[in-house]
């Protein structure tokens, strides 16, 4: 399978199953589009009727080049991965990442929160240190030979239970060498409680921090409000700036959510850049279609254009020596994931679980609170084997809708939680998300082409 697209003056051909990317001229672009369904004579005739100055031998030379790429496994490569996808996930029984719900409570009251103001449709709760330590033991016990183990402190707002965060890290660090493990901690925070103590701790211990900011003040304050209904922008922005300044070269993301209220979300990304942040992420809101801020079909062309504006502006910034990173455009064509990662996906319900404040296990943070997806707990382990098997079979080849999709090796069939919320099945697809995802991948590939050709 190939995917052809034109963007920012480039004609791009992606060979889906080898991962090869080709930048071609108009003539080659047209020849490649006809290569598999037209005869040589038909191609020559079609090209010469469109381009008056192309000789037959010129077209034959291009056909020869295409044939050479095909023979070398760089074009029209066959799909050999379907069986691998099911076998690999079935055999993989280790757990390597946990999302710890440190606090099912929040000091903000964001309207669009999928966790329903941190409570996940349940009671307010804080994780105890005892539960946190047991979660670390559970992860080590189930991680087999995997060395790098990931723990995300999530909520609600994890800093509302900061002492327990510190206690869990201290405990994990005290036993990681003995077990030949390397813990990588991530802290996701709304910023309200960030202070020097938090910054010192995070800069010493956290591999990554995710700082929630939606962009421009009026956009951020519209949905990210305090319990008293006041906007939180003025409180958190100086704290995040101080945090990032002191973070040095360690990883962070300033991460926002855009909604129907700010379909011109690139202005929010540029605002983040103006505030001095360079590592940026902006996600489309996922919510019920009747929510007032839900993205609509009419928004789609605007959003596509926004993604293009962003990609082109990032190229400009890079050339000016002031680059910014956008999470979804970070693809590394040479050092990116292997095919196993690409077909098996995020690992939810298999190698990645969310842990509630009281130690229950769910396939990921987005399933927490949905009792039908309760998988077990950190003492007894995974007991809902039937559900686990469903997740093991959920991969890039599990959905008929993905069969002809060129992007499936970039998304592994998409987010199981989004699919479930959109269709009632983790093996469904969230079509709206797919459309945005494909656009983002075209932009990301185009940026790599630009980088490569303008070295």
């Amino acid at each position: 399978m190939i995917h052809q697209f034109k963007l920012n003056g480039y004609n791009i051909v992606l060979d889906v199953f080898s991962g090869s990317v080709h930048a071609v001229d108009e003539v080659a672009y047209d020849i490649i589009s006809m290569y598999k369904n037209k005869s040589k004579e038909e191609i020559i005739k079609a090209i010469q009727s469109k381009y008056s100055d192309i000789s037959t031998s010129d077209i034959e030379e291009c056909l020869g080049d295409i044939k050479e790429l095909e023979n070398n496994g760089k074009l029209f490569t066959e799909d050999i991965y379907a069986d691998l996808a099911f076998d690999f996930k079935k055999k993989n029984t280790v757990i390597k990442a946990l999302c710890l719900h440190i606090a099912h409570t929040c000091n903000l009251n964001c309207e669009y929160c999928f966790a329903s103001q941190g409570k996940y449709h349940g009671e307010r709760a804080l994780m105890s240190l005892e539960v946190g330590k047991r979660a670390i033991d559970f992860l080590i016990e189930n991680s087999g030979k995997r060395r790098n183990l990931e723990v995300d402190f999530f909520g609600g707002e994890p800093l509302m239970n900061f002492d327990v965060v510190k206690g869990i890290v201290k405990y994990a660090r005290s036993i990681e060498k003995k077990h030949n493990k390397n813990f990588r901690f991530t802290l996701t925070t709304n910023g309200v409680l960030v202070d020097d103590d938090v910054i010192d701790f995070a800069n010493k211990e956290c591999h990554n921090v995710v700082l929630s900011l939606d962009g421009r003040k009026e956009v951020h304050d519209r949905l990210r409000k305090t319990i008293n209904g006041k906007g939180s922008y003025d409180t958190i922005v100086p704290k995040f700036q101080h945090f990032v300044k002191r973070r040095g070269n360690k990883g962070y993301y300033v991460r926002g959510t855009f909604t129907h209220n700010n379909v011109d979300f690139t202005n929010d990304i540029f605002h983040m850049a103006d505030l001095g942040f360079t590592e940026l992420s902006m996600e489309p809101v996922v919510c019920a279609p009747d929510d007032p801020y839900a993205l609509t079909e009419e928004d789609l062309p605007v959003l596509f254009e926004q993604y293009e504006i962003l990609a082109k502006d990032m190229i400009r910034r890079e050339k000016e020596g002031k680059p910014i990173t956008f999470y979804h455009y970070m693809i590394d064509l040479t050092g990116g994931p292997c095919i196993y990662k690409r077909i098996s996906g995020c690992g939810s319900g298999c190698e990645y679980f969310a842990v509630t404040p009281w130690g229950d296990l769910y396939p990921c943070h987005q399933f927490v609170g949905d009792e039908s997806y309760l998988m077990g707990d950190i003492w007894k382990g995974i007991v809902n084997k039937e559900k686990q098997d469903e997740f093991k079979l959920c991969n890039a080849y599990a959905r008929p809708e993905c069969e002809d999709c060129w992007a499936k090796l970039f998304c592994s069939g998409g987010c199981a939680a989004n699919a479930y919320h959109a269709t009632g099945s983790i093996n469904g697809i969230y079509e709206y998300g797919c459309k945005l995802f494909r656009k983002r991948m075209e932009c990301a590939i185009m940026m790599q082409v630009d980088k490569s050709l303008n070295k």
Binding site: F17, L69, Y81, T188, G335, K341, Q366, N418
Partner: protein
């Protein structure tokens, strides 16, 4: 090639042999939390080789 420039990429078919160590980051542990994008994850082996 006159009309085609091939960008250097990782050969996915080759990675059926050399890949699958599972040491790379879980995608939702980075920044998204609401979508599944695996393509932007770094290969841990490739990182170590660098």
């Amino acid at each position: 090639m006159k009309r085609i420039q091939t960008i250097e990429t990782r050969d996915l078919k080759k990675s059926t042999v050399e890949g699958g160590c599972g040491e790379c980051q879980t995608s939702c542990q980075s920044a998204c939390k609401t979508s599944c994008g695996v393509a932007n994850q770094q290969c841990e082996k490739c990182l170590n080789e660098e």
